[in-house]
């Protein structure tokens, strides 16, 4: 029976990937194997079928249509954790814009010493907010409260980053020491070229960044330049599309008035993260 299923997967994925994914499916015996293979052959992402995705040492819950955390994101968040782990007293306040599964703030909460990070994740999608909340519960990361100073904390709220009333809607409490975001950055043209497993299954709202793909960077720049939004020495870390490095650096310098910026590459050699410092 297995050989038939593998053959079906090979058709879709090629031999090496098929074998690999089949083994991962075998480890999730809570689902029916033929069913998983059938769904995969229709183009559904493996992560939705298995219901999880490892992210650093975490294994996060994943549910459609919330964006599946990417290895590129995992890589830069691990680097960021290293970068901010040293001068971390007193506790830092972090804002994550478009938090999705909560992967970015939850990994940082997990890696940094207890009681040093209080994170707030905002998203426009109630699905995302629910998933991020579930993931926080899975790893026992509590919401912020005056009694809870000994642990790292994570809270969520709904909000539309592009709306003028965003700060109030999302109940933001600046100033922040760290702002992170992996905002939707795919442009109109690119959107048409996306693989099926992305375009047909993941939330378009999580991917589509306006005609040029840069809408959200402009919105973030407007936000962080506000008086008292960032604490002195604050870091803004933004994931970018592979050809957006220059544009986003420029937006952060000119519109965000953050004059110190750098670009990190991902493990595949593509520009992936813009860092800007207040």
């Amino acid at each position: 029976m297995h050989s038939k299923l593998i053959a079906a997967l090979v058709q879709q994925l090629g031999p090496a990937q098929a074998r690999q994914e089949f083994r991962w499916m075998l480890k999730h015996s809570e689902h029916s194997l033929p069913d998983m293979v059938r769904r995969r052959c229709l183009g559904e992402p493996l992560q939705y079928i298995l219901g999880s995705q490892p992210f650093g040492p975490l294994n996060l819950l994943i549910r459609p249509p919330v964006l599946i955390p990417r290895p590129e994101t995992e890589d830069w968040v691990l680097k960021l954790a290293d970068r901010i782990s040293t001068p971390l007293k007193p506790p830092k306040y972090l804002l994550d814009l478009g938090t999705g599964s909560g992967c970015i703030p939850l990994l940082l909460c997990h890696l940094l010493p207890p009681g040093t990070l209080h994170a707030h994740g905002v998203d426009i999608s109630p699905h995302a907010i629910q998933l991020a909340t579930d993931n926080a519960a899975l790893y026992g990361i509590p919401p912020h409260s005056p009694e809870n100073t000994a642990s790292n904390t994570f809270k969520t709220s709904l909000g539309n980053l592009l709306a003028p009333s965003f700060c109030d809607d999302a109940k933001l409490q600046p100033p922040y020491d760290i702002v992170t975001s992996n905002p939707p950055y795919i442009s109109w043209n690119e959107y048409l070229e996306l693989p099926r497993s992305v375009a047909n299954y993941e939330d378009p709202k999580a991917l589509f960044g306006g005609p040029t793909g840069l809408d959200f960077y402009h919105a973030i720049a407007r936000l962080v330049r506000r008086d008292g939004f960032l604490r002195p020495g604050a870091i803004v870390a933004l994931e970018i599309g592979h050809e957006q490095g220059q544009d986003v650096e420029h937006i952060m310098r000119v519109e965000g008035q953050l004059h110190d910026t750098e670009v990190w590459s991902d493990p595949w050699g593509k520009q992936r993260t813009v860092l800007a410092y207040r």
């Binding site: 991962w24 490892p54 992210f55 650093g56 964006l67 590129e72 992305v198 999580a206 970018i240 595949w268």
Partner: protein, 394 residues
């Protein structure tokens, strides 16, 4: 003590008394004498240390002397045991010719049991105390299996061997985990890496390193001709992330980390799982590829564990070679290209060529139980070499 030292200085016939219940080859006798002599030397050393302790324990050297004394306490216990047993044996000696028959019978029984205790002391307890403690005794193991000559038949044999080690681990309550596995198209496994965790697993399994050979008619062979195929196994000391002597094994700057496949635009454009990584340790040229986990981070961690284990293995091999260069040393290092064992299906037998041991029950070996017999025999063989080494160096 007097009695004993008299014994020691009178070789040949009197020595037979040490282990009176078993006919001994002269060679074995000779070995026992040497063991006792070494122990005696150590006891004299203890006496000297003791006499050197300052009266009010005020010198800084006292601390190190006390430490040494504490460490060698088990030797003293064994020595006292030896002396006492020997003395009792002497006392029973005279009763062996007692006029009363009941008394004689009793004496024979007593003599018998004392003789056994003495043999146990000299042949097992004391040697194990004299052999320097191994530095690798706490380590878990990592097994690397690679199919060799014989094509798909070798891959099928590899899956048989893999199962054998997993079963053995189960029986021994070790925690075995296949961390990497490349299946072959013919249904077998081209190569695999298994972590086996547990106290002393590395030392128990290290003699499995080498080439394992199978002789059988492949399932796919219509003509019924016997084929010979091989699988190479390397057993490494497992170096986990938390082990403290990791730092000295490599510098992070010397390791090149590469991701394997191209992802096009990457990021939000792609949600295919591509988590394979490859490490290259530039100074040694060691490369490790890992792709079995769904996350790059986990594959990287696994790959680093393999790298550390391989580097640790190189370090151990180097140390043994150095020791061998400075003085005569019989302890072998596992020769990875050596054909160590043959599994012959037609004759239902398994032979280990190093110790010349054949078990006529192939299936029990493959089920894991018989394998333990090989491990025990190899361990014994090793212990004897180490002891021989120590005796010849003394």
């Amino acid at each position: 003590m007097l009695l004993l030292s008299r014994c020691l200085r009178t070789p040949a016939k009197n020595l037979r008394r040490f282990v009176p219940q078993r006919p001994f080859h002269d060679q074995a006798d000779h070995k026992n004498v040497r063991i006792v002599r070494i122990l005696e030397k150590r006891i004299e050393e203890r006496k000297r240390l003791f006499s050197e302790l300052s009266e009010e324990m005020s010198s800084p050297d006292d601390i190190s002397r006390l430490k040494q004394l504490k460490e060698s306490e088990p030797l003293q216990v064994a020595w006292d045991d030896l002396v006492r047993t020997r003395q009792l044996l002497n006392e029973t000696d005279s009763l062996l010719s007692d006029s009363d028959e009941a008394m004689r019978a009793l004496a024979v029984e007593e003599h018998d049991s004392l003789g056994k205790s003495l043999a146990e002391l000299v042949e097992t307890t004391i040697p194990s105390l004299l052999i320097p403690p191994s530095t690798t005794s706490h380590l878990s193991a990592m097994l690397e299996l690679k199919s060799g000559v014989g094509g798909s038949e070798a891959s099928l044999f590899l899956s048989n061997l893999l199962r054998m080690y997993l079963r053995l681990s189960n029986v021994r309550r070790w925690k075995a985990n296949v961390v990497s596995q490349n299946d072959s198209d013919g249904g077998g496994i081209k190569d695999a890496i298994v972590e086996v965790k547990g106290e002393g697993v590395f030392e128990a399994l290290r003699w499995e390193s080498g080439v394992h050979r199978v002789q059988r008619v492949p399932a796919t062979e219509a003509s019924g001709r016997v084929h010979t195929s091989t699988v190479a196994i390397i057993v490494l000391p497992l170096m986990e992330e938390t082990d403290n002597h990791n730092e000295e094994l490599f510098n992070m700057e010397d390791v090149k980390i590469e991701v394997m496949r191209s992802r096009g635009a990457g990021g939000q454009h792609v949600n295919k799982t591509e988590s394979a990584v490859r490490l290259t340790h530039i100074p040694t040229g060691i490369t490790v590829s890992m792709q079995d986990e769904r996350s790059q981070h986990q594959n990287k961690r696994r790959a680093f564990t393999v790298l550390r284990s391989r580097l640790m293995d190189q370090k151990l091999t180097r140390e043994i070679a150095e020791r061998r260069a400075t003085r005569q040393n019989l302890v072998r290092t596992a020769d990875r290209s050596e054909k160590i064992r043959t599994y012959n299906y037609a004759q239902e037998r398994v032979t280990d060529h190093r110790i010349g041991l054949t078990l006529k029950n192939l299936s029990s070996v493959l089920e894991g139980d018989g394998l333990q017999d090989f491990l025990d025999a190899l361990q014994k063989d090793h212990d004897e070499t180490v002891l021989e080494d120590m005796l010849s160096g003394d």
